[in-house]
């Protein structure tokens, strides 16, 4: 488990910082803009 956890952490470290902070709640909006 420790190894898996460490691997997950190192993969997360590769992500752009803005992608690491997932919001706790999201909503969806859908538009057609012509």
């Amino acid at each position: 488990m420790k190894t898996t956890h460490a691997r997950q952490e190192s993969q997360a470290d590769l992500l752009p910082p803005i992608d690491r902070a997932a919001p706790t709640r999201t909503e969806t909006a859908t538009f057609a803009l012509g």
């Binding site: 590769l14 752009p16 803005i18 909503e27 969806t28 057609a32």
Partner: protein, 178 residues
Amino acid sequence: MRTRVGYAGGTKPNPTYHDLGDHSETLQIEFDPERITYEELLRLFWKAHDPTWPAQSRQYRAALFYHGEEQKRLALESREREQARHGRAIRTDVFPFPDFYRAEDYHQKYYLRQDRILMGEFRAIYPETRDFTDSTAAARVNGYLAGYGSRTALQHDLDLLGLSPEGRKRLLDSVSSR
């Protein structure tokens, strides 16, 4: 915020760009309501098109697809405000959210895909196309490359986007040159 383009509003199952049926080209946004509200997105939506123009085709019509009763109320209220502001018939319709079909990969983050260097960096981070498409960093870089956002805003964002020194310089240069 995550963005993706696709097809919605029609009845044809599994539409594609070359076999769209009665669907329309659509933008879907996944957003954090604590960072930006649906009302703010509606303001941008109305600003981004002329709602008094009749649609040239079903593929390229303007429409609002609401998710839930609260979005329905806000969407209809915003449409009424537009009607009053323009004093003319509004052609942009409001519908309940139907199915959404993601567009083909080559349509996602279109401007970023045109930049071989920056796209290479994102490919290395996100080998899976779906993860790349859903990346907030990719959406933001795509927006800057498409001509949106100021140099000041980019300087504020630069540490958040996961780019190499070369990638950062390239993006800054593209924003500075306009």
